[in-house]
Symmetry: C2
Subunit: 122 residues, 2 copies
């Protein structure tokens, strides 16, 4: 037995979680929303919908689009999005540790065999 | 903005979370799985499926069925299920507090207006 969880940021609904974090991380690495989508097996239209929804709820842009240019344009994340990603990663990592610690504390007696025998239906 | 989360206990897959906790709490209150389902608007067959799945994964029974008897039988939770519910409730409540505390800590600078201005797409 172990603790399992899902965390996200809510702003009038689901706004930012592991999926968007991974998408923006891949945009940062590849410099392109197209390449990021390809890496994740996500459709471009789904990614844009996700980003528009996120931007609307957050009240700021997360992507800067570079139209044209030497390599045909691309996308990069905004400084504000980078801040969000940094805060979210710290939040998630620290919360994970806390959840696992609290689980071990609260379920220690439950999982110790011998202290409390499983009850079978009579 | 706020932190949102979903917690559960995993034992080869989703095993116990808020839904099962509420169902068992209602069985405890009403002394009947039928009444518990009615209160939650859950079908009896769905509840049984949930309970069988849970018992199989946990390796112990969570319900004692009282067949017949003066009031036509009913269901009550096993002592081992009661232990699980107690551990889970403590785990969930403490984890909720920790998640909210960690969120406030990590997002304090992000949410402070003036310290960091939202970036608009250029």
């Amino acid at each position: 037995m172990k603790a399992a969880f899902k965390l996200w940021i809510d702003q009038d609904g689901k706004t930012f979680g592991d999926g968007p974090y991974e998408l923006l991380t891949n945009v940062e690495k590849t410099g392109s929303l197209h390449k990021a989508c390809a890496q994740m097996g996500m459709s471009y239209s789904k990614a844009w919908k996700l980003i528009r929804n996120m931007e609307q709820k957050l009240g700021f842009f997360v992507l800067d689009r570079e139209v044209g240019g030497r390599f045909g344009g691309g996308s990069k994340i905004t400084p504000r999005a980078k801040e969000l990603m940094t805060c979210y990663a710290r939040f998630r990592d620290e919360a994970k540790k806390a959840i696992e610690r609290i689980y071990r504390k609260q379920f220690l007696s439950f999982e110790k065999p011998g202290l409390s025998r499983p009850t079978r239906r009579s």
